[in-house]
C-alpha cells in the first residue's frame, strides 16, 4: 500500500481498510438466518430413499407400508416427480463434442450412483419421513459398476449409458509448437511423472438446504436455498418446472459455506420444488451429513501423466501431459463437469514461458457420485503438475528451485502475454511476488537449517509454487456455451429520506464479507459513513439481474457495479443539491453525509435534509428538476475473457519417516489480487483457501471400493483439517490493480486452495529427497508415504 496518494486515499475512505463486517455481530449472537431456521405454516419435511448400489436396475418399488405411517403426507416415486419436470442436459456448446444424457430428479429405471435419489417421502417431520423411508421396499437387479476412471474410458467396458458408444463424455487436445521435437537433443533433460489426485468434496458445515413455497393462486414459487447464484437457479427452476421466470423467486439469506458445492442443480432440490407445487404447501429438505457426502458434488479425481523438458540453462523447452478424470454418471447442470479438465488443459504451466505444449484431456462417466466445480476448479491439479515437474527437474540438473522459476516465469514487464494455450494474461507480478516470498520466508536460512536437520535425522522440506488464478470471468466462461449464467452483475443504490444509502447487488454473500466490501465501496464513492449503508444481496425479487458469487468475481465485478452506481447516484444528488443551493454541481462534493463546497469544505446541506425536500417537500424544487435518487449500473469484463491474479506460495513441512505423518510447520503466501478492498477479509479468504488446499493435499479423500460404495461418508471418517494440525499462515500482498475496471480489484477467493497442494507436494518430496523416494499422489496420507518409503515392506 505504498506509493503516491491514490483517488481512494481521500479522507473518510474505506477502500483498502480492514473495516469490521457489520453483519458479524448478528452471527456471533446466534441471530443468523440459515435455511433450516425457517419455519413456515403447514410446512412439511422431505427425506429420500437413495440407491444403495452404484449401478442397478430398479425392478419394483413398494411404498404401501411407508404411506401408512402416521404423519406421512406423500410418497413420490420417479414418475410422480419426473413427469412434472423437463429433463436437463449438462453440456456447453463451446466444449465441442461434449455429451451427457438428459437427467431427471429421481432415478426411475436404473440407478447410476450410490446415493442417487429414488423415492421421496414427505412427512410432518424429518424424523417421520426417515422412518417411512425405512419402510419403502425396492427390488434391485445389480449391474456391473464401472468405477475406475481409466478402465471406464476403455472400449469394451460396460456402458453406463447404453445409448452412448462409450463412457467418454468429452475429450480435448491442446497443441502449441512441437513438443516432441523440442524434447530431442543432447542438452535436453526430460522428466516424467504420473500424478493421482483423489476425489474430495466441499464439506460445507451447513449442508445443502431448501425450503420451497408454492402459491397456486398466482402460480408463484419461492425457493429459499443455501446457494451462490440466485438468478441462475431462477432460470433453471423456470425452465425445468416450466414456470414463467418472473413467477420464480430465489432467496439465499445466510449461507453456511458454499465453496462451489451449492451452485449446481441437484435432483433432490428440484424434487423438493416439485413436491411443494404438487402439495401446495411449503416443503423443507435439509440434507443430512451422509446425504452430503454421497450427493454433494465431488471434485478432482484426476490421473495426470506429465513430462517436462528443460535445456542446460534450466529453461523449459516443452511440457506435455494427459489428464483422465472421472465425473460420475452424468455431467452436472448447468455448468457441466468438463470445466475442471478444461481448466487444467488451459492453466497448467500458465506462469511460465512455454512455447511447446501438448495436453490431452479425457472426461469419463463412471458409477460414482457426480463431480463438478468446487473451489479453485482445476487449479490445484494444474499447479501441482507443473510445479512438481519443475522442482523435480531442477534437482535433476542441480539447480535451485527458486532459480529455475526465475529463469522461466514470464517477466513482470512483458504483459500483455498470450500463453501457449491461448490464455490472455495482463498485469501480473510473478517475479516481484516470488522475490517478496523468498524474503518473507527467509529462504536461504531455511535451506541451511534443512542441511543440519537432515544430518540429525530430521526430514524437513521446502516447497514452492508460482501460480495464476482465474478471476472476474467474462461471458466466455459459461454464457458463451449457452448456460443461463450471467457474467455481468448489477447494483442499485437509493438514497432514502433520512440520508442513508440502500445498496442492492446481484453478487452474493457466503461469509467472505461481500456485503461489507460493497458497503465500503458505496460509502466511499458516494461519501457517507459506512454505518449509513444497508446492503441487500441474495434475492431475485430485490436485486438487479446478475451472476452471483463464484469464480472469485464478487469483489471485482459486483464491486465495480456498486462503484459505478454510487458515482451515478452522487452525480444525481449533486445536481439536486446544486438546484436547491443555486450553485453549480461541479462546485459541490459529498463528505460524511453532507453536501459541501469543494473550494472551502464548508457544509452546505445534510443529505437527510435533501432527502426530505425531494420526498416530502418537492414543492420547493423547480419544476424542471425531477430527482430519481436511485441509480442502477451493470458491469461486465469486456477487455479479457478472465482477469487473472498471481501468487507465490511456500510450505515448510516435516515428514516423520517412522509414521509417515506430515506436519505443516509454516506456510507463506504472496498474493497479487490487484486493489485490496479490505485487507483483513482478503487475508482470511487466502488463509481459509490454503487450509482447504492443505486438506486436499494431506487428508481429504472420498474413498470408494471397487463396487462404487463410498466408504467414509461421515465427518469422523472423512478427514478435514482441524485447528491443531494447521499452521499460522503468513501473507503479504503485491498490488497490481487491473485496468479493466475503475476499482482495480481482482478476485482472491480461490488462490489458497489452488496453490497450497502444489507447495505441500513439493515440500513433502523435498523432505523425502535424501531418502531417494517421492510421492505424487494426493492426499499424501501416512500410509502412502510409508509405502513410498518402504515399498518392499508394505
Amino acid at each position: 500500500m505504498s506509493g503516491p496518494l491514490h483517488k481512494f486515499d481521500r479522507p473518510n475512505s474505506y477502500i483498502g481498510r480492514s473495516v469490521v463486517r457489520p453483519d458479524a455481530k448478528r452471527l456471533v449472537e446466534g441471530q443468523g438466518n440459515y435455511v433450516d431456521d425457517l419455519q413456515l405454516p403447514r410446512m412439511v419435511h422431505a427425506a429420500f430413499v437413495r440407491s444403495p448400489y452404484a449401478h442397478a436396475k430398479i425392478i419394483s418399488i413398494d411404498t404401501s407400508n411407508a404411506k401408512s405411517v402416521t404423519g406421512v403426507v406423500a410418497v413420490f416415486v420417479g414418475n410422480d416427480i419426473n413427469s412434472q419436470v423437463k429433463p436437463w442436459t449438462a453440456t456447453l456448446t463451446h466444449l465441442k463434442g461434449m455429451r451427457s444424457p438428459p437427467q431427471l430428479p429421481l432415478a426411475d429405471a436404473v440407478a447410476r450412483w450410490q446415493g442417487e435419489p429414488i423415492v421421496m417421502v414427505v412427512a410432518q417431520s424429518r424424523a417421520i419421513a426417515e422412518d417411512a423411508c425405512e419402510l419403502v421396499e425396492i427390488e434391485f437387479e445389480p449391474l456391473e459398476p464401472v468405477c475406475n476412471t481409466e478402465i471406464a474410458a476403455q472400449r469394451g467396458t460396460p456402458l453406463i449409458h447404453p445409448e452412448l458408444d462409450s463412457n467418454v463424455a468429452w475429450e480435448r487436445e491442446v497443441v502449441a509448437g512441437d513438443a516432441d521435437t523440442a524434447m530431442q537433443g543432447s542438452d535436453i533433460t526430460t522428466l516424467e511423472r504420473t500424478f493421482h489426485f483423489g476425489r474430495h468434496t466441499g464439506v460445507t458445515l451447513e449442508s445443502r438446504s431448501v425450503v420451497t413455497e408454492f402459491n397456486k393462486s398466482d402460480d408463484t414459487l419461492v425457493f429459499h436455498y443455501s446457494g451462490q447464484a440466485p438468478h441462475m437457479m431462477q432460470a433453471v427452476l423456470s425452465k425445468h418446472l416450466q414456470l414463467p421466470e418472473e413467477n420464480v423467486r430465489v432467496v439465499a439469506r445466510d449461507v453456511g459455506g458454499s465453496f462451489g458445492i451449492k451452485i449446481h442443480t441437484y435432483g433432490d432440490e428440484i424434487a423438493t420444488a416439485v413436491a411443494a407445487r404438487l402439495l401446495c404447501r411449503p416443503v423443507k429438505f435439509i440434507a443430512d451429513r451422509l446425504e452430503s457426502f454421497s450427493s454433494d458434488i465431488h471434485a478432482r479425481e484426476h490421473r495426470v501423466h506429465g513430462k517436462i523438458a528443460v535445456n542446460k540453462n534450466g529453461e523449459i523447452v516443452a511440457l506435455t501431459f494427459d489428464d483422465v478424470t472421472g465425473i460420475g454418471p452424468y455431467s452436472m447442470y448447468p455448468r457441466t463437469s468438463a470445466i475442471e479438465c478444461n481448466q487444467i488443459l488451459n492453466l497448467t504451466g500458465a506462469p511460465y514461458k512455454i512455447e511447446n505444449y501438448y495436453a490431452k484431456g479425457t472426461v469419463v462417466f463412471q458409477n460414482k457420485n457426480m463431480m463438478c466445480q468446487y473451489r479453485a476448479v482445476g487449479h490445484p491439479v494444474a499447479m501441482a503438475v507443473c510445479d512438481s515437474l519443475i522442482e523435480d527437474v531442477a534437482h535433476e540438473i542441480n539447480m535451485d528451485v527458486v532459480d529455475i522459476r526465475r529463469r522461466n516465469l514470464i517477466a513482470d514487464d512483458a504483459y500483455p502475454v498470450t500463453s501457449a494455450t491461448g490464455m490472455k494474461f495482463n498485469e501480473l507480478s510473478h517475479h516481484q511476488s516470488l522475490d517478496s516470498l523468498i524474503a518473507m520466508m527467509n529462504y536461504d536460512q531455511l535451506r541451511n537449517d534443512q542441511k543440519s536437520d537432515r544430518a540429525a535425522g530430521i526430514y524437513r522440506g521446502i516447497g514452492l509454487v508460482s501460480m495464476v488464478e482465474v478471476t472476474n470471468p467474462s461471458p466466455m466462461f459459461y454464457g458463451v456455451g449457452g448456460a443461463p449464467i450471467a457474467a455481468q452483475d448489477g447494483a442499485s443504490i437509493r438514497l432514502d429520506a433520512a440520508g442513508a444509502l440502500h445498496v442492492s447487488c446481484s453478487v452474493t454473500e457466503q461469509g467472505q464479507g461481500t456485503n461489507t466490501i460493497l458497503a465500503q465501496i458505496a460509502a466511499e464513492v458516494f461519501g457517507v459513513d459506512i454505518d449509513r449503508v444497508k446492503v441487500t444481496t441474495g434475492d431475485t425479487a430485490n436485486v438487479p439481474y446478475g451472476g452471483g458469487t463464484w469464480a472469485s468475481r464478487g469483489a471485482g465485478i459486483g464491486g465495480e457495479s456498486v462503484l459505478l452506481a454510487a458515482k451515478a447516484l452522487k452525480d444525481q444528488v449533486l445536481d439536486v443539491a446544486a438546484s436547491i443551493l443555486q450553485t453549480s454541481a461541479d462546485s459541490l462534493d459529498i463528505d460524511a453525509g453532507t453536501v459541501i463546497n469543494i473550494a472551502d469544505g464548508a457544509e452546505r446541506m445534510d443529505l437527510g435534509e435533501l432527502g426530505k425536500i425531494v420526498y416530502y417537500r418537492a414543492n420547493e424544487l423547480p419544476p424542471d428538476i425531477k430527482p430519481e435518487l436511485i441509480a442502477t449500473r451493470h458491469y461486465r469484463v469486456t477487455d479479457y475473457p478472465f482477469v487473472f491474479t498471481n501468487s507465490a506460495m511456500a510450505a515448510h513441512v516435516e515428514v516423520d519417516v517412522e509414521t509417515g505423518f506430515v506436519k505443516v510447520l509454516d506456510f507463506w503466501v504472496v498474493e497479487d489480487c490487484g486493489r485490496v478492498i479490505n485487507p483483513k477479509l482478503v487475508d482470511e479468504q487466502i488463509r481459509g483457501g490454503v487450509v482447504q488446499g492443505i486438506g486436499g493435499a494431506l487428508y481429504e479423500e472420498c474413498l470408494y471400493d471397487d463396487d462404487g460404495q463410498l466408504l467414509n461418508a461421515t465427518m469422523a471418517d472423512y478427514l478435514v483439517p482441524m485447528a491443531a494440525e494447521m499452521p499460522d499462515i503468513h501473507i503479504l500482498h503485491v498490488e497490481t490493480p487491473t485496468t479493466t475496471s475503475n476499482l482495480g480489484a481482482k478476485g482472491a477467493g480461490e488462490a489458497g486452495t489452488g496453490g497450497a497442494p502444489a507447495a505441500i507436494l513439493n515440500a513433502v518430496n523435498d523432505a523425502l529427497r535424501p531418502l531417494d523416494t517421492a510421492i505424487h499422489q494426493m492426499p499424501m496420507t501416512p500410509e502412502r508415504i510409508l509405502k513410498a518409503l518402504y515399498p518392499d515392506k508394505l
Binding site: G688, T714, A723, D728
Partner: protein, 181 residues
C-alpha cells in the same frame, strides 16, 4: 418412538416445560420447539461441534444428548452467551478478528472458546488450537479464531496485572454478569 415425556428445564434463564418424544435430541428441541436457532446442526454425530452448548455449566454436544436427558438442567445457548463477561468479550473479539466467515460453526466455536478461557487457558496458540480441535470450521483456516481467543486471554491477563498493581481496583470476574449485578 412417538412416546412423549414431560420435561422442565431452564433455557437461557427462562423456565420451559414441554412434552417431547423420547428420541428427540436436545439441539433439535431447542431449534424446532423453542425457536432458538442459534445452535447449528452439522453432522448429528458429535464430530463437527457446531451444536456445542452449555448444560449445567459443562459444554456438551447438543446432538448427542436427548431432550429428555435435559430434564431439570440449566441450558445456555449462543443466544445468551453474551450475558456472561467471557461470552461477551469473546463475541466482541470474534467480530474484531473476523474469526468467522459463514458463521455456521461460530456458536460451537464460541462455546469451546468460552470453555477454554473459563478453565484458565493460556495464550499458548498450540494449546488453543488443541482445545478447539473438536470444532470444525471450513472457512477461516482457524488462525483468526485462535487470535480472537488469545486476545481475550491476553486482555484478562493484563487486567489482572493492573489489578494487582492498583489497590482497590475491582476484580475482573468470569462470573455471570447477572450474578455479579
Amino acid at each position: 418412538m412417538s412416546q412423549k415425556t414431560n420435561i422442565a428445564l431452564s433455557v437461557n434463564g427462562e423456565q420451559v416445560q414441554a412434552s417431547v418424544p423420547a428420541r428427540l435430541n436436545l439441539v433439535d428441541f431447542l431449534r424446532d420447539h423453542l425457536g432458538l436457532t442459534g445452535s447449528h446442526v452439522g453432522c448429528e454425530q458429535g464430530a463437527c461441534g457446531a451444536c456445542t452448548l452449555s448444560v449445567d455449566g459443562v459444554m456438551v454436544r447438543g446432538c448427542l444428548m436427548l431432550a429428555v436427558q435435559a430434564d431439570g438442567a440449566n441450558i445456555i445457548t449462543v443466544e445468551a452467551f453474551g450475558e456472561s463477561v467471557t461470552g461477551e468479550q469473546l463475541q466482541q473479539s470474534f467480530v474484531e478478528h473476523n474469526a468467522l466467515q459463514c458463521g455456521f460453526c461460530t456458536p460451537g466455536m464460541l462455546a469451546s472458546g468460552i470453555d477454554y478461557i473459563e478453565s484458565g487457558g493460556s495464550t499458548d496458540r498450540t494449546h488453543i488450537r488443541k482445545h478447539i480441535s473438536g470444532n470444525y470450521c471450513r472457512c477461516t483456516g482457524y488462525q483468526s479464531i485462535v487470535d480472537a481467543i488469545a486476545s481475550v486471554v491476553e486482555g484478562r491477563n493484563s487486567l489482572a496485572v493492573e489489578t494487582k498493581q492498583t489497590p482497590g481496583a475491582e476484580e475482573s470476574g468470569t462470573s455471570n454478569k447477572r450474578a455479579g449485578e
